[in-house]
C-alpha cells in the first residue's frame, strides 16, 4: 500500500500531502520525520537524485526537484522499486506541467494540474497509472494515444 505522498518546499512547508491508512494522530509525526529526512540528506543532492530508506516493511523514496522535495512512503508490496517507479512518473509530470524544474511559485501556479496528475497516478493507496503520456491525456479527458 502507498501510505503517503508528500511534496514540500525547500524549507519544509507542505504543498501537497496524501495519506492512506495512516491515522491522523500519526500524520504529524510522519510529516516532521520526512521533512527532517529531507533536510538531512537533500541539501546537497542533485536534481532528481533518488534517496531510499526503509524500516521493517515500510519503504521511503525521496528526491529533490527544483525547489520542491517529494517523499513517497509505501509498505509491503510497494517496495523501493515500485516507489521509484511512482516517483519517476511524478517528477516527469511535474516537470512537464511546469515546463522545467519547478520553483515553488511555478509549482503553485500549476497546482490544479499537478493535483489532477496525482489523482491519475494513485488513489487511496493503490497505483493506477504510471504511463506519463497517458496520464497527461487523461487529465485533459482525452483517450490514451495507443487506443
Amino acid at each position: 500500500m502507498l501510505m503517503a505522498v508528500l511534496i514540500s518546499n525547500s524549507v519544509g512547508n507542505i504543498l501537497v500531502e496524501r495519506f492512506n491508512g495512516v491515522p491522523s494522530e500519526e500524520r504529524l509525526h510522519w510529516r516532521s520525520f520526512l521533512v527532517k529526512l529531507g533536510a538531512d540528506n537533500l541539501q546537497r543532492a542533485s536534481n532528481e537524485e533518488l534517496f531510499v530508506a526503509s524500516h521493517k516493511s515500510v519503504h521511503i523514496v525521496y528526491t529533490v526537484l527544483g525547489d520542491v522535495c517529494i517523499y513517497i512512503v509505501g509498505k509491503d508490496a510497494y517496495d523501493e522499486l515500485a516507489l521509484a517507479e511512482v516517483m519517476f512518473v511524478i517528477t516527469s509530470l511535474i516537470k512537464d506541467a511546469c515546463k522545467k524544474s519547478p520553483t515553488e511559485r511555478l509549482f503553485l501556479d500549476k497546482y490544479g494540474k499537478i493535483c489532477l496528475c496525482l489523482d491519475e497516478i494513485f488513489w487511496k493507496g493503490i497505483v493506477e497509472n504510471t504511463n506519463k503520456e497517458r496520464i497527461k491525456r487523461l487529465t485533459r479527458l482525452k483517450p490514451p494515444g495507443e487506443f
Binding site: L15, L50, F51, L81, A84, T103, L108, Y111, G112, W123
Partner: protein, 886 residues
C-alpha cells in the same frame, strides 16, 4: 491566479511569490459561490476548485455545513460542457467524499456520464461513483461495472477494475460476482488492464488455494505483458511455492524454472522481484541461490541508487541465513561504504559485518571508523548492534571491537545511540569474561562526562554488581564517589547504593566506604541522605566493622520479586493507617500486554533492561469484578488470572472467551460474552459446564448474566472447588444457555416472548501452567546462586523430533507458563544447542527458577536437561512432573 501577489519576504527573489499567499478558508468559500452563477465562468470555477484543493491538502477541514454547501455548489458544475472543468469536478467530489444522504444529489449526473458515449466521461464517472457509493447503489450500477471491466477502452476497463479493488474491502460479495469478467480482462492485450485485473482476481480468490495455484500455473505458461503484472505473478508464485511445501530433496521445486527465467527479463523490477523471491524460498539451496545472488551483485554497481539499495537490502537478509553465499559480493559491498546514500552504506557495512571472517575484522573496523563520523545516529545504532553480534561471534577479537565501542562512546551523540553502545559493552562484559575489566573501566570513564542521568544510574547499578567481583575493586571507587560530588540528586543516590554494594562485598574496602558514606549524610537531597543512613545501618557502619551478614547482602543484591508497575499501583492505593504497607499484598502476576501494544516479540531485550513488567490495570479490573460477586467473597485472594481463551470462532453469532481465575481452593471461570446479532436480546445467560473429565473439581456457585443486548459485552461466572494447593488439571465442556428475544429493528424494542436456546462452545482446560505466575528476576545468575544447590532437581528428557530448537523451547515455555529471563527464549537461527532460563512463582507463593538446556541432533531429535531450584523441594518435583506428563 485571482489572489493578488504580495511579496512575502524581502530576502527572497521575485520567483518566490505564492499564488496562494494569504489564502483564507472563509474567503475561498465565498468565492465558491461562482459555482451557482447562471453563466458559468469555467476558468474561474477551475481556479476556485484549485484553491479548495490547496486548502484540503494543507490539512484544512471543512465543517459539515461548509462541506455540504460546497458539495451542492460543485454538483451544479455538471451543467458546464468545459472538459477541463469537468475533470476538476470529478476530483473535487472525490476529495469532499459526500455523506450518504448527499450522494443521491450527484448520482444521476454520474450515472448519465457513466453511460455517456465519451469514454473518458465513463471512466471518470465510474471512479467517482465507486468511491462515494454504498451497497444499495452498487447493486444498481453493478451491471454497468461488469460491462466496463470488459470494455474495449483500456481506461474504462482499468477504472472499473481498480474500483473493484477498492470495493472488495466494503462489498466483497458483490465484487466476487464479477470474477468471470475479471478473468477475461486478465487476458487483455492492454498492459495496465492485465495488471489491474490480475491484482483483483487474486484478491477475489486469495482464500482459495487451488484457484490461485491454477491461476499461477496458467499465467506462468502464457505471456504477461506488463512488468508490474509480472512482478505480481512472481509474488503469487512464491506464495504457491510456500503453501505447496512439496519435497525439495530432489531439487524439483515447482515453478523454480519460472523464477529463474524471470532473472533474464528485460525489466529490472522483474529481475529484482525474481531474485528476491528465490532468496526467500524456504530451505533454499546454494545451487538455487547462485543465479539470484549473481544478478543482485550486478545491481550493487548500478548507477541507480534504488537498485543498489534494493540489492544490498536483500543481500543483507540473505547474509543472516546464508552468509557464505554472499561473500562473493564483499568487494562490491566494500565500495558501497562510501555511497552518498547513507542507508545504502549502512546496509553494506552491516552485511559485511555478518559475512566477514575473523581475519577481516580489523580492516573492516578501520573503514567503519572513517564512516561513523558522517552518518546520523539512527544508522550508527544499526552499526553498533552489528558490531555487538560480530564480537559475540569472534570473542577473540573483543579487544579491537571494545576499543571501537569505547572510542565512539566518547564522541558526540544522542541518548538512543549512547544507550546502544552502553548496552553493547554490558553484553560483551557479561558474555566475554576477559572483556570485563577493560569494559568496566570504559564505562567508568564514560560516566565521568555523561549527560544522561538514565545511563549514569544504570551504569552505576551495573558497576555495583560486577565491580566488587573484579581483581582490584578499589580502582572503581574514585569514579563512583566523584558522582556524589558532581552530579544531580538521582545520580548521587545511585552512587551511594553502588558504594554500599562494594562495602558489602569487599570487606577490605568496608572501612573506607563507611567514611565516604558518612560524608553523604550531609547531602542536600533527602533521598541521598536516607540511602546513606540506611546503608550505614544495614552494613553495621555505626559500630565496629563486622562481616556483612546474609540478610544485608540479600537486601542489597536480591531482586525485588514483584513487578514495579504492580508495586506502584498498590502504593497509590495504600491509605496511611495504623497497619503498615505489606509488600506481600502486591500482586506478582506479570500481565501480557494488550495486542495493539505488542512490539516485535522476537526483539532481544537491551543489556541494561529492567525485568519485564506490565500494566496493572487488568489485574485491578479483574479484582474489582470478582469482589463484586458476593458468592466469591470467601475464596481469598486471586493467585493468577489467565489470558482470555477464545471459546468461539471469529465472526460467529455469539462471541465468548473465558478467563481462568485461580484461588488457593477454588477456580472461577469468567465467561466474557458478546452478542453480535442486532435483532436479538439475550437474557438469563449462563454457561452449563460439564466437569466429568475434571474429577478433582466440583461446581460450587454460578452467576448468570441477566441481560445481554447487542454489542454490549457482559460476564457470567462459574466457580469450582478443588483440593488446596494441588495443581489439579482437567477438561471442561461448555454450553451457552440463554433466553432469546427478538428485537424490532425499527423501534429497538424487544418482543415480549422469549425462547430458550443453547449454543455449543469449545472445551476448556485447566493446565499446570495455570498454577505458575510469570514473575521475572532482574539478574538470573544472582537469583539462581542465592538458592540452595542441594535442593536442585535435575533430569533429562527426550522431546522427540522437532522442526527446530525454537519450536521445542516455545513448547516447554508455554507448558510451564513461566517468565523467560534475559532474552533466552530467542534461539539463534541454526543453533544446535541452547540454554533457556525461566523464573516464576508456584501456587503457594513459592519462588521457582528453571534452567533448560536443549540439544538437537541431525535427525532433529531434541533432548532437554531440566534443572529446577526452588525454596521447596516439592515444588521442584512438581515442575518435573509437569514436564514428564506434558
Amino acid at each position: 491566479m485571482a489572489q493578488p501577489l504580495v511579496k512575502k519576504d524581502d530576502d527572497r527573489d521575485d520567483e518566490e511569490y505564492s499564488p496562494f499567499l494569504g489564502i483564507e478558508k472563509g474567503a475561498v468559500l465565498q468565492e465558491a459561490r461562482v459555482f451557482n452563477d447562471p453563466q458559468l465562468d469555467a476558468r474561474r470555477c477551475s481556479q476556485v476548485i484549485t484553491k479548495l484543493l490547496y486548502l484540503l491538502n494543507q490539512g484544512e477541514t471543512f465543517t459539515k455545513i461548509e462541506a455540504t454547501e460546497v458539495f451542492f455548489s460543485v454538483t451544479k458544475l455538471f451543467q458546464s460542457r468545459d472538459i477541463g472543468l469537468r475533470r476538476m469536478v470529478y476530483l473535487m467530489i472525490k476529495e469532499l467524499s459526500p455523506s450518504a444522504d448527499e450522494v443521491i444529489i450527484v448520482t444521476s449526473s454520474l450515472m448519465k456520464d457513466m453511460n455517456s458515449k465519451t469514454d473518458m466521461y465513463r471512466a471518470n464517472a465510474i471512479r467517482v461513483l465507486c468511491r462515494i457509493t454504498d451497497g444499495t447503489l452498487l447493486t444498481q450500477i453493478e451491471r454497468y461495472l461488469k460491462q466496463a471491466i470488459v470494455d474495449k477502452n483500456p481506461v474504462v476497463a482499468s477504472a472499473a477494475l481498480v474500483s473493484g479493488i477498492h470495493l472488495l474491502q466494503t462489498n466483497p460479495e458483490i465484487v466476487k460476482r464479477w470474477s468471470n469478467e475479471v478473468q477475461e480482462a486478465v487476458q487483455s492485450r492492454a498492459a495496465l488492464v492485465q495488471f489491474h485485473a490480475l491484482a483483483l482476481l487474486h484478491q477475489i480468490r486469495q482464500n482459495d488455494r487451488l484457484a490461485v495455484s491454477k491461476l499461477v500455473t496458467s499465467l506462468t505458461r502464457g505471456s504477461v505483458r506488463s512488468p508490474l503484472a509480472q512482478c505480481l505473478l512472481i509474488r503469487y508464485t512464491s506464495q504457491v511455492i510456500r503453501e505447496s511445501a512439496s519435497n525439495t530433496q530432489t531439487g524439483d521445486r515447482p515453478f523454480y524454472d519460472f523464477l529463474e527465467g524471470c532473472l533474464r527479463h528485460k525489466a529490472e523490477m522483474v529481475i529484482f522481484e525474481a531474485a528476491r523471491a528465490i532468496t526467500e524460498l524456504n530451505g533454499v539451496t546454494t545451487r538455487e541461490l547462485t543465479p539470484a545472488i549473481t544478478v543482485l551483485q550486478l545491481f550493487l554497481s548500478s548507477s541507480k541508487p534504488v537498485l543498489r539499495f534494493a540489492a544490498v537490502r536483500t543481500l543483507n537478509k540473505v547474509a543472516m541465513t546464508h552468509p557464505m553465499a554472499v561473500t562473493n559480493c564483499n568487494i562490491d559491498m566494500e565500495s558501497l561504504i562510501s555511497d552518498q546514500n547513507r542507508s545504502i552504506a549502512t546496509l553494506a557495512i552491516t552485511t559485511l559485518l555478518k559475512t566477514g571472517n575473523e581475519s577481516s575484522v580489523d580492516r573492516l573496523m578501520k573503514q567503519i571508523t572513517n564512516f561513523m563520523s558522517d552518518i546520523a545516529d539512527e544508522f550508527k545504532i544499526v552499526v553498533v548492534e552489528a558490531i555487538r553480534s560480530l564480537c559475540l561471534k569472534f570473542p577473540l577479537k573483543y579487544r579491537s571491537l571494545m576499543n571501537f565501542l569505547s572510542n565512539i562512546l566518547r564522541e558526540e551523540g544522542g541518548f538512543e545511540y549512547k544507550k546502544a553502545i552502553v548496552d553493547s559493552i554490558v553484553i560483551l562484559i557479561r558474555d566475554i569474561p576477559d572483556a570485563k575489566e577493560g569494559g568496566l573501566l570504559h564505562l567508568c570513564e564514560f560516566i565521568e562526562d555523561c549527560e544522561f542521568t538514565y545511563l549514569s544510574t544504570q551504569i552505576l547499578h551495573f558497576l555495583g554488581i560486577e565491580g566488587p567481583k573484579t581483581s582490584d575493586p578499589s580502582k572503581y571507587i574514585r569514579y563512583i564517589y566523584n558522582r556524589v560530588h558532581l552530579e544531580n540528586a538521582t545520580v548521587r543516590a545511585s552512587a551511594v547504593s553502588t558504594l554500599a554494594k562494594f562495602g558489602a562485598m569487599v570487606d577490605s574496602l568496608k572501612p573506607r566506604i563507611f567514611v565516604l558514606l558518612r560524608r553523604c549524610l550531609y547531602d542536600s537531597d533527602d533521598e541521598v541522605r536516607d540511602r546513606a543512613t540506611l546503608y550505614l545501618n544495614t552494613l553495621g557502619g555505626e559500630g565496629e566493622v563486622v562481616e556483612t551478614d546474609k540478610d544485608a547482602k540479600e537486601f542489597l543484591f536480591g531482586s525485588l520479586d514483584v513487578p514495579l508497575v504492580n508495586l506502584e499501583t498498590s502504593l497509590k492505593a495504600y491509605v496511611p493507617s495504623e497497619e503498615p504497607f505489606d509488600i506481600h499484598s502486591v500482586p506478582k502476576e506479570v500481565k501480557t500486554q494488550p495486542l495493539v501494544e505488542k512490539k516485535a516479540p522476537g526483539k532481544k531485550p537491551a543489556g541494561l533492561g529492567a525485568p519485564p513488567s506490565g500494566p496493572a490495570t487488568t489485574v485491578d479490573a479483574y479484582e474489582r469484578l470478582l469482589s463484586s460477586v458476593p458468592e466469591f467473597s470467601n475464596f481469598g485472594k486471586v493467585f493468577k488470572s489467565s489470558a482470555p481463551v477464545e471459546l468461539t470462532e471469529a465472526e460467529t453469532e455469539y462471541a465468548v472467551n473465558v478467563v481462568k481465575h485461580i484461588f488457593d481452593r477454588h477456580v472461577v471461570f469468567q465467561y466474557n460474552c458478546t452478542n453480535t446479532i442486532p435483532e436479538q436480546l439475550l437474557e438469563n445467560v449462563i454457561v452449563i459446564v460439564d466437569a466429568s473429565d475434571a474429577e478433582e473439581f466440583s461446581e460450587v456457585a454460578s452467576k448468570p448474566l441477566r441481560s445481554l443486548p447487542y454489542d454490549s459485552p457482559g460476564q457470567t461466572f462459574v466457580a469450582f472447588e478443588k483440593p488446596e494447593g494441588v495443581p489439579a488439571v482437567g477438561k471442561f465442556s461448555n454450553m451457552l444457555r440463554f433466553i432469546v428475544r427478538e428485537v424490532d429493528p425499527s423501534t429497538g424494542e424487544p418482543e415480549d416472548d422469549g425462547v430458550e436456546d443453547e449454543y455449543q462452545l469449545e472445551d476448556l482446560e485447566v493446565v499446570s501452567a495455570d498454577y505458575v505466575l510469570k514473575v521475572g528476576v532482574s539478574n538470573f545468575r544472582n537469583a539462581w546462586e542465592s538458592m540452595d544447590p542441594d535442593d536442585e532437581k535435575v533430569d533429562e528428557y527426550g522431546l522427540g523430533p522437532r522442526e527446530n530448537l525454537t519450536e521445542a523451547v516455545n513448547a516447554v515455555i508455554s507448558l510451564l507458563g513461566m517468565q523467560p529471563c534475559e532474552g533466552t527464549e530467542v534461539v539463534p537461527s541454526n543453533s544446535r544447542s541452547h540454554t533457556c532460563l525461566l523464573s516464576g512463582v508456584y501456587i503457594g507463593n513459592v519462588k521457582v527458577l528453571v534452567r533448560l538446556q536443549f540439544g538437537i541432533d541431525s535427525q532433529k531429535e531434541v533432548a532437554m536437561k531440566l534443572a529446577v531450584r526452588s525454596d521447596d523441594v516439592a515444588v521442584s518435583e512438581a515442575i518435573h512432573d509437569i514436564v514428564a506428563s506434558g
